[in-house]
């Protein structure tokens, strides 16, 4: 029905009209994009899913709005509705005005005039959003051709080169003819941004633009987005689940929950003075990379509500620790709160949640678990895993018939470390640095490997027979990154958990007993054992994965990015669980993660890897508070912190480029090609970096910290340091 797409057209929509009048349908005439009472409904097998329920916002030119919320909160659907990219089966009502022109209800063809011209979008996954069969230049020029058919070819080429240069792609003229697969993920995202800003859009919508990228690349891309915004003067809608990412960028924040904005306001109000328990929970659930003190994270228990049923009360009430009977009496409207001018929150208790209320008072965080090993000095604990000079080199061959070896990829190059009982050891680094290969080498446990892996006293050199391997498997188990992929969809939870136990030769009754124990241990209801994995939420599935790993009582659990696929609020619960299990069962962890905040929170020791080598290793507080290697410093400075003021004034090291291809691996220090210290060194000293390989040496003070750099105290190159001007970002 066409009348549904224009607000206030029918008499039956009177409450809407009144509501819109209050919200000010025609307010803020200078707003470049104004959204009023946006509603999106999908028909599903189970009923009508009301995915977005009444979103209002105004976007001023040149400003950035951050939309934050967990998955399923309707962030992406909102952006797609604005772009008119939802499937025709979705029912969209309300009003979306771009420079005063109504967009909802326009045909797909009419929308094409706006999309890519005034309204542009950057998608989450840069790997799949470029067409692999066309060159990057063709794809940029396509965006220009569509909206400027009269433009000449040379003009378009010049503009494409200009755009590529603007997003920081080196030698843009040559790269125009390159295909997407010749670019790395971060570069492709830059190209996507270039395409998006090709026609000087008024509004740029970025849907989780950095979620799929490494932290160092994320910092680069955020920087590019920032320059792109400055160049074009576009307003940006930034959709993310990471409160850190938007802290430094956004002017205003809208927190969404269950398809509804629950708190909106200027960025400082939201971060320093949240008035809605959900926002407080989100902020408390994020581990901080800059905080050393050990306190449990605040998990938000429960799951987002099912949007098929219309909530009769506050939609957050079932998960809210402050909920009372009054909360169930109708959904609270978004009402202004004292303090910020435009700060509004949808909570009846917002007045009592002033700036002084600590999130730990509101949400009950579990006590910090203490392991029995914490009191014993590290040197006196027994070793559960030891790696001695482990190498994994892959030959690189070329030629169809006769394979010539043209080089070696040194995925892991001489790695040595050990893990003691009750300890969490983390490996961090960009993708391609050899973290996962290291894990695979450990899990492989084969006598032919280069280097020695000792697990609980069993060396891989003696692991010729299946029996030794079986014994090793009982010492070491793994938790995978993607909880969905790691569980056989055709197994019930019972079968999933029974598999390692059957393999260990336990009888039926003992297996049953153990499974019930495990379910309780990881905080799942024991009577859910007959369900299939797809009946659980992501966090619960990861708990099942953890339970499976713990089934045979291993000493060491290998965690491969255990929380990166989870929402912030759920992530906190899983991290707390891991912490708790480590203390209670005396487990050791080997954790691989790209999220340094999580690493800081959970681990005792950390190793930073770059191109297959450890560049810095030591106690986590030492390494994070006093990083010596320039790469560690760059990594740490790239992590966004959920603190807008700190974020604005923080000095950032932006590494140039990506990981070098293993073929061009430098002879001396691996990191020299991207090193900010190296760039600032005089040529005489540079020579040393280029010819000699820095060994891993202990830091001056005799603490648990080693690093591999000749000039740890060298000056940083000015070009690679970015400090945002504070005045740049203050909201009006």
């Amino acid at each position: 029905m066409s009348s549904e797409t224009t607000t206030g057209a029918t008499g039956s929509a009177r409450p809407d009209v009144e509501r819109l009048h209050v919200a000010g349908l025609h307010a803020a005439s200078d707003a470049v994009l104004s959204v009023r009472d946006l509603n999106v409904r999908f028909n599903s097998e189970n009923g009508v899913v009301h995915a977005v329920r009444g979103v209002d916002f105004d976007l001023m030119p040149g400003k950035t709005l951050g939309i934050v919320g967990e998955s399923g909160s309707g962030k992406s659907v909102t952006s797609l509705a604005i772009m008119g990219l939802l499937p025709p089966t979705a029912e969209v009502t309300g009003s979306v005005r771009l420079k005063g022109r109504e967009l909802l209800g326009l045909s797909d063809k009419a929308m094409c005039e706006f999309r890519g011209n005034d309204l542009a979008m950057v998608f989450q996954d840069p790997l799949s959003s470029l067409t692999p069969v066309f060159t990057v230049g063709t794809q940029i020029m396509e965006a220009l051709t569509i909206h400027h058919p009269a433009m000449s070819r040379t003009a378009k080429e010049a503009r494409a080169v200009e755009l590529l240069a603007m997003v920081g792609i080196p030698s843009p003229k040559d790269r125009l003819k390159a295909f997407p697969h010749e670019f790395s993920g971060g570069m492709r995202q830059r190209v996507m941004i270039a395409i998006a800003i090709a026609n000087n859009p008024r509004v740029l919508i970025a849907d989780e633009p950095t979620t799929a990228l490494d932290v160092t690349i994320q910092a680069q891309v955020l920087e590019v987005l920032h320059t792109a915004q400055e160049e074009t003067g576009a307003a940006v809608v930034m959709i993310t689940h990471d409160l850190g990412v938007v802290a430094g960028m956004a002017d205003d924040i809208m927190v969404m929950y269950a398809g509804k904005p629950v708190e909106t306001g200027a960025v400082d109000d939201i971060y320093y003075n949240p008035r809605m328990p959900y926002t407080m929970g989100l902020l408390g659930a994020v581990p901080r990379v800059d905080a050393a003190e050990k306190s449990s994270l605040v998990p938000i228990e429960g799951m987002p509500p099912n949007l098929i049923h219309t909530p009769t009360g506050c939609s957050f009430a079932p998960r809210c620790p402050l909920a009372s009977d009054a909360c169930l009496d109708g959904e609270p409207p978004l009402a202004p709160v004292a303090g910020g001018a435009l700060h509004r929150a949808a909570c009846i208790k917002s007045e009592s949640l002033g700036g002084t209320v600590d999130v730990h008072d509101v949400f009950t965080a579990p006590p910090v678990p203490l392991s029995r090993f914490d009191a014993i000095p590290r040197a006196e604990r027994s070793t559960v895993l030891q790696l001695k000079d482990v190498r994994k080199h892959f030959p690189l061959t070329r030629g169809a018939l006769i394979k010539r070896r043209i080089g070696t990829v040194k995925a892991v190059d001489g790695l040595s470390f050990d893990i003691r009982e009750g300890e969490c050891f983390s490996i961090v680094g960009e993708s391609g640095s050899g973290k996962t290969t290291t894990l695979l080498e450990i899990m492989e446990f084969h006598p032919d490997q280069d280097g020695e892996v000792v697990i609980g006293g069993l060396s891989n050199k003696q692991a010729a027979d299946a029996k030794t391997k079986g014994r090793m498997r009982r010492e070491l188990q793994m938790v995978f990154q993607d909880p969905t992929g790691a569980l056989d969809p055709r197994f019930t939870v019972y079968e999933v958990l029974a598999e390692p136990l059957q393999n260990a030769g336990m009888d039926r009754a003992a297996i049953r007993k153990r499974i019930m124990e495990l379910m309780r241990l990881v905080g799942l209801q024991p009577d859910h054992v007959n369900r299939f994995p797809n009946q659980f939420s992501g966090g619960q599935r990861q708990r099942i994965g953890i339970a499976r790993a713990l089934a045979v009582n291993p000493k060491l659990v290998v965690l491969d990015e255990p929380v990166s696929a989870l929402d912030v609020s759920v992530q906190a619960g899983v991290i707390n669980l891991l912490d708790h299990l480590r203390a209670e069962l005396g487990l050791s962890y080997l954790l691989v993660a790209h999220d340094l905040s999580v690493v800081r929170h959970i681990s005792n020791r950390v190793a930073v890897m770059y191109l297959g080598k450890i560049v810095e290793i030591g106690a986590v507080d030492r390494v994070f508070d006093n990083p010596r290697h320039p790469y560690t410093r760059a990594l740490l400075s790239a992590i966004p912190v959920p603190d807008p003021q700190l974020e604005r004034t923080r000095e950032r090291i932006i590494l140039q480029g990506d990981l070098p291809s293993p073929l061009q691996a430098p002879k001396g220090c691996n990191f020299a090609t991207r090193c900010p210290v190296f760039a600032a060194l005089p040529p005489g000293k540079q020579e040393k970096c280029l010819t000699l390989e820095p060994p891993l040496e202990p830091a001056a003070s005799a603490t648990d910290q080693q690093f591999a750099c000749f000039f740890p105290d060298g000056e940083m190159d000015e070009d690679m340091l970015v400090v945002h001007e504070p005045a740049d970002h203050v909201a009006p």
Binding site: E45, N46, G47, V48, P305, N306, I308, H309, P311, T312, G313, A317, P318, P321, L322, A323, S324, D325, C327, L328, M443, K469, G470, R473, Q477, M478, F480, Q481, D482, G485, A486, L487, D488, P489, R490, T492, E499, P500, N503, D527, H528, N530, R531, F532, N534, Q535, G545, R548, V552
Partner: protein, 329 residues
């Protein structure tokens, strides 16, 4: 501070319902229920079962058999004596149809089941071990695909296989030949599907738990391509029945005195005008047979697919009700 869990009574009720039911429902029950929900599939199954039963006990309802000639009724249309009439030679068509249906179903089931089983094990083994094993097995597979099946069938059942023919009934010979040439396509498909499954974390998880390869193939790979296997069995049965009909039709499949639907149809084609019942009866039975299998196919896939959208009936009805309420409001 009150911690409230009960907000939405509908959601709570649904949850409670889920919990009470879920504990008792087994996996097989769920699959069975989903299958039963598809009416076409159930009808297909019923027809197929009825035909199978008919082919085994149908012979008891008449005193004639496929070899006895009735000299008083030669080429007669259906009558009380001969339910479906008689052939040109005076043999009862009903008896022949019963016998022919049995042979066709036998050939179809054996070839369909065994070839898919061979394909599954062969394909999964190739994918699991990879490398040299994969290469060698793939070579055998490709070589078999290259071989002209029609010629081999013709040679085996006619001239060349004289020794074989003496020892084996013609239907068993046909089964063997069909088996040899029917599993390769499926095996190659299964190989590629299992290869992508091998990349999945749950296979890695099982490997890291120390589960032996044989078990991983059998417990993780085969069930996860289960819906494909089921579809391929029903498709394979259909294909085998049709192949038998086709080979017999051109005279290189089942040989007289053995009867099959193909033989009956083949014999009758020249006399559709004079003895129409001789042609239409076996043809109808063949259509019923292959048609019922096709009807089952769809229902089976839905039942086995864990991500299938086939949801409970109650839920659908409820959703419709809610929707209706909304519209009226």
């Amino acid at each position: 501070m009150t911690y409230l869990n009960a907000v939405d009574p509908a959601a709570v009720a649904q949850d409670a319902h889920l919990e009470s039911v879920d504990v008792v429902i087994g996996k097989n029950t769920i699959i069975f229920r989903r299958f039963l929900r598809n009416k076409t599939a159930v009808a297909g199954l019923a027809i197929f079962l009825a035909l199978t039963v008919f082919s085994f006990i149908g012979g008891f309802f008449t005193e004639w058999d496929k070899e006895t000639i009735d000299p008083f009724n030669i080429g007669m249309p259906p009558s009380a004596d001969h339910y479906l009439g008689t052939s040109q030679a005076g043999i009862d068509l009903y008896a022949m149809t019963v016998e022919g249906t049995r042979i066709s179903i036998l050939i179809g089931l054996v070839v369909g089941l065994v070839s898919v089983l061979v394909a599954a094990v062969y394909g999964c083994t190739m994918a699991y071990f990879g490398g040299k094993v994969d290469k060698g097995m793939l070579f055998i597979l490709e070589a078999l695909i290259m071989m002209p099946a029609l010629l081999v069938v013709a040679v085996a059942t006619s001239g060349g296989g004289a020794g074989l023919k003496r020892d084996l009934p013609s239907w068993l010979l046909l089964i063997i030949v069909l088996l040899v040439f029917s599993w390769m396509g499926t095996a190659r498909l299964i190989r590629s599907m299992s290869m992508s499954l091998m990349q999945r974390d749950f296979v890695k998880a099982a490997q890291y738990m120390g589960v032996p390869p044989r078990r991983i193939v059998w417990r993780h790979l085969v069930p996860n391509i289960g819906s494909l296997l089921i579809l391929d069995i029903t498709r394979g049965v259909t294909a085998a029945i049709l192949a038998e009909v086709a080979f017999s039709f051109i005279g290189i499949g089942i040989k007289v005195p053995d009867v099959s639907l193909g033989v009956l149809i083949g014999q009758a084609t020249s006399q559709v005008q004079t003895f129409p019942w001789m042609f239409w009866v076996p043809l109808t039975v063949m259509f019923l047979l292959t048609g019922s299998l096709a009807m089952m196919n769809d229902g089976l896939r839905d039942a086995f697919d864990p991500s299938s959208s086939s949801t409970g009936k109650a839920k659908k009805a409820k959703a419709r009700k809610i929707h209706a309420e909304k519209k009226t409001a």
